[in-house]
């Protein structure tokens, strides 16, 4: 039987280096596989529509910069005074039940803030007309707004874009669907900015 020739010192060193390299490759592969398998996918898909507040990243449907550019007539402090007044029993969000889905999603962008644990303002939806498929949803008009039950009326397809206050009536006029999103966002952020 032929004897195996002894490996030279050089060959042994080379083999050692190869072992180390292959081990490193394996470790890198495993680490990468673990990361790719178990990582949480990024949930921050909309940097521009996220309002960061008190450790929460609150997404809105509109860009935050557009929201902040919206104006409130006469001013934002009046809006806060109406909605955050200690006398408020319920805030009503008044929408046309047969309106577009946009009115509903805009209403939610307000509802989710006012009804949150942070503010805890009892908030309900009301319709501008009786809706037989949801008979338990109340219907009312903006004229029934009181300081104990202020009403936010979302109105799309208007000839102006403005949040207008008339006593306890808060009328949100929007020319385009996106304007409704920005107005809703504006109302919510105006409330959030109350708390430092």
């Amino acid at each position: 039987m032929e004897e195996k020739p002894e490996q030279s010192k050089k060959e042994k060193q080379r083999e050692k280096l190869v072992n180390i390299a292959l081990l490193a490759i394996l470790i890198i592969f495993v680490a990468t596989a673990l990361y790719l398998t178990f990582r949480n996918p990024s949930t921050l898909q909309y940097e521009e529509n996220i309002y960061y507040y008190k450790g929460s990243a609150i997404p809105f449907r509109a860009n935050i910069s557009d929201c902040l550019n919206m104006s409130v007539s006469p001013d934002e402090s009046s809006l806060r005074n109406i909605l955050l007044n200690q006398n408020v029993d319920t805030v009503l969000l008044l929408v046309n039940p047969n309106g577009s889905a946009h009115e509903g999603t805009a209403a939610y962008d307000i509802f989710k803030i006012t009804a949150s644990d942070y503010f805890g303002i009892p908030t309900a939806i009301a319709y501008t007309q009786y809706w037989p498929e949801q008979p338990n949803t109340p219907n009312t008009t903006i004229e029934h707004a009181t300081y104990t039950t202020p009403i936010i009326w979302l109105r799309s397809n208007q000839d102006k874009t403005l949040i207008e206050l008339d006593g306890p009536k808060i009328i949100v006029y929007a020319e385009e669907d996106y304007d409704l999103d920005t107005q809703a966002c504006k109302i919510s952020i105006t409330l959030l900015e109350t708390i430092q």
Binding site: Q45, S56, P59, Q86, A101, G104, K112
Partner: protein, 776 residues
């Protein structure tokens, strides 16, 4: 060399095995069912990882129907970024008043406000330091101390602003204005007579009208340039409305009015120039030349040119400083103040000259509108209503009902009802009094030495006056006689109760149940405690009734609940009735506020319910401004006590480091807005059937749905009116990502399906191990 390749092969083989294991682990992690809904929509960090997708062709009502579902997700998100473990941070939301705040007993004028302690000052004053006292010192009205005197000819002319309110003209009243007796006393509002609020610009040193022109003054808290001044009319131009136009940059738009400077021209007299100005307003265009320091009306808009200069000699090039339209305030003696856009307010101006009459002494602007009716004009102030100055700087606001400290009242609910009760001697006709929310009734036990509290007491009406019974807490089947029962609103404020029988003859047992409010001091200094009486007839039914039976004290009265002591015949009138047995003339029962502030919540023959405040209720109003903001935040741990707003709070319970987020992180999109990135990042919750939501349609067409959805009467799995389905679809649009379909055969079905997820906590067990759940 062969060894190396063997090793490489081994390494690769290991990598494949490891990879297979990891893939397996990943797959095992993602095999979920509807019972895992919470994990699908909220990630391990407590963030919402669901995107709620509504069909763009859905109606508003469809979105509303799904709101409860999105709200559930928001409420179940948590954050670990709150205060440290075991701590909470309490941030009070406070209203900051700049001005004076007054608390009025019901049916009393502001001159008798609680704050005055029996004194009756005629007015309240707010102003800068020196002209407002105590909380009346405000930082939005000024004097020469803050803004400097007016100078002319080397002479200092001192001045100040102030707002005076006539207190006798303001009344917090239980409604007495409705015409129907049944509508009265059912609410509390503030009446304010005309000419109650007066703003004053006062020259402490009278100054010639002619010296005023061109001077800067502060009026109603705002800086103006005096355009012109006289005994009959003074015009002010707001400093923040000044614009500078140049011939190189000649145009601007102010409040919808287009303004253009067409050049600077000499007036022919020395170095005075005039500006050629073109205005376009409401479709009308007009051009005029306006000299410096003068005004003109152009296209119906008033323009004041403060200064006009030529910048290039020999040309018409230059610049003009001007105030246009809305920035000009006209103070015409005896007339209503007009805003710059021409709007006339109800505030009337008065200019008072000094001595000689060529000097200005002061200017007042007074609200002339009364707020004294319940009709659609000149309406009284309801809670939250304000009377605001023309420029919105200050006002008078009615905040509604508070206690004398300005806190929202805390109410004790009191129920009074006829009852049949075995008081250790068989069933007896009784009147039962209970405070359902707490042990709010105090009594002395049979020893007479020990005062205790309980939720309910009974008075035996067949045994004479005041035979009260309590249930022995140590032996709940035993009832014992007691004395001195009272509703314990607070330690200091109690409402005593007594039963006075008229007849104890079997079959004709009648009497009066009287409840007396806590004593309070009237504005004339007298101490009073008002009463409410219920007439009782044990024989009217098997348990007895409250009804008019005694016809006393007023024989013709048919009232059986009234706000007076039965023994005081003279005050049982239509004004005091709360329940009237005969409905021929008035409403049989009515909402009613008492002077203390008790509210009669409901009244009938078998139950009278009261909501009584712990402290006497008052009407609160503010003169000045108020703004909602935040107080000082405090961080506390469980078990600690903190004082917020004067109230001590003990924080109890377990406080962990993971807390509800408090602020929602949910968002919704329309199906037309969903991107590829959304499909990769989120669990999509798709709301609506295939006809409404294109993504649901896409899944159904692809055969990905376990339960197909169609209109009622169709052949699909979910095709009955009102039927809905919640279905979890794995690898819906992207491998490894789920979608949840929430849909129905019709709108009602979709709403029913959404309701399942809105109340997931109640349905979690039902949904466990299922990937599709049909409802309805």
């Amino acid at each position: 060399m062969q060894n190396i390749w063997k090793k490489v092969g081994a390494i690769l083989g290991s990598a494949v095995m490891i990879g297979a294991t990891l893939v397996g682990a990943a797959l095992a992690q993602d095999t979920m069912d509807l019972g895992d809904y919470e994990d699908l929509v909220i990630d391990s960090d407590g963030n919402v990882q669901a995107l709620y997708v509504i069909g763009a062709s859905a109606a508003t009502a469809d979105v509303v129907g799904a709101m409860g579902m999105t709200a559930w997700a928001g409420q179940n998100a948590v954050t670990t970024e709150g205060a440290g473990a075991g701590e909470v941070t309490l941030t009070p939301i406070e209203t900051t008043v700049s001005g004076v705040e007054r608390h009025l007993m019901f049916d009393n004028v502001a001159a008798k406000a609680y704050e005055f302690g029996g004194q009756s000052p005629a007015t309240d004053l707010i102003g800068p330091a020196g002209w407002g006292s105590g909380t009346g010192v405000v930082n939005y009205l000024y004097s020469y101390n803050e803004k400097g005197p007016v100078y002319f000819g080397g002479t200092e002319y001192k001045w100040h602003e102030q707002v005076t309110v006539t207190l006798g003209n303001i009344n917090a009243t239980r409604d007495e204005l409705d015409t129907a007796a049944g509508d009265k006393y059912d609410e509390v509002f503030l009446t304010v007579d005309a000419n109650t609020i007066e703003y004053k610009y006062d020259m402490d040193t009278d100054m010639l009208y002619t010296s005023f022109q061109g001077k800067k003054i502060w009026f109603m808290g705002k800086e103006y340039t005096v355009i012109s001044a006289s005994e009959s009319i003074t015009k002010l131009g707001a400093s923040d409305s000044e614009v500078l136009l140049t011939t190189t940059d000649p145009t601007t738009t102010i409040s919808g009015v287009d303004v253009k400077l067409d050049g600077i021209y000499s007036t022919g007299t020395g170095s005075t120039y005039k500006a050629k100005i073109t205005l376009t307003s409401g479709g009308t265009t007009e051009t005029k030349y306006v000299s410096a320091a003068s005004t003109e009306s152009i296209a119906g808009i008033e323009v004041y040119v403060k200064d006009a200069v030529v910048t290039t000699t020999g040309t018409n090039e230059g610049e003009a400083q001007m105030i246009v339209g809305a920035g000009i305030l006209k103070l015409e003696d005896g007339s209503y103040l007009k805003l710059g856009d021409g709007t006339e307010t109800t505030w009337q101006t008065q200019t008072v000259s000094g001595s000689p009459t060529t000097k200005l002494n002061y200017i007042t602007v007074t609200e002339t509108s009364p707020y004294t009716t319940v009709s659609t004009t000149n309406t009284v102030l309801y809670a939250g209503d304000s009377i605001t100055s023309p420029n919105g700087l200050f006002g008078l606001t009615f905040n509604g009902i508070t206690d004398k400290y300005g806190n929202a009242p805390t109410y004790v609910n009191v129920d009074i009802m006829p009852s049949l009760k075995d008081l250790n001697g068989g069933n007896q006709k009784t009147i039962r009094v209970r405070t359902p929310d707490a042990d709010g009734i105090s009594y002395y036990d049979e020893t007479g030495a020990s005062q205790k509290t309980t939720k309910e007491l009974w008075v035996n009406t067949s045994m004479g006056d005041n035979q009260w019974y309590y249930r022995d807490p140590t032996n709940t089947s035993r009832y014992t006689n007691t004395t001195i029962p009272a509703i314990q609103l607070t330690t200091a404020n109690t409402m005593s109760m007594e039963y006075t029988n008229v007849s104890t003859v079997a079959g004709t047992i009648t009497g009066y149940f009287n409840i007396k409010e806590p004593t309070f001091t009237r504005t004339d200094g007298a101490s009073v405690a008002r009463n409410m009486t219920l007439e009782y007839n044990a024989s009217a039914s098997s348990i007895g009734k409250f009804e008019d039976v005694n016809d006393a004290p007023t024989a013709s009265a048919s009232y059986y609940v009234y706000y007076a002591n039965y023994a005081n015949a003279s005050v049982v009138t239509a004004a005091n009735f709360i329940a009237d047995e005969y409905t021929s003339a008035t409403t049989a029962t009515r909402d009613f506020y008492t002077n203390w502030g008790c509210y009669v919540d409901s009244v009938g023959s078998t139950l009278v319910s009261l909501q009584c405040p712990q402290e006497q209720s008052m009407g609160e109003f503010v003169i000045g401004t108020q703004e909602v903001g935040t107080g000082t935040a405090q961080t506390v741990q469980a078990g600690e006590t903190v004082t917020i707003g004067g109230t001590k709070l003990n924080v109890t319970g377990a406080i962990g480091s993971v807390t509800p987020a408090g602020l929602p992180t949910t968002v919704s999109k329309l199906d037309t807005e969903v991107t590829s990135a959304d499909k990769s990042a989120y669990t999509l919750v798709l709301v609506g059937g295939p006809l409404i939501n294109t993504l649901v349609s896409e899944l159904q067409v692809a055969g990905s749905l376990e339960k197909t959805i169609g209109a009622p009467g169709g052949a699909e799995d979910v095709a009955t009116a009102g039927q809905g389905v919640v279905e979890l679809v794995a690898d819906a649009f992207v491998d490894g990502k789920y979608a949840i379909v929430v849909a129905g055969s019709d709108r009602a079905g979709t709403k029913a399906a959404a309701n399942i997820l809105a109340h997931f906590d109640d349905y979690a067990d039902t949904l466990d191990d299922k990937t599709a759940y049909v409802v309805g």
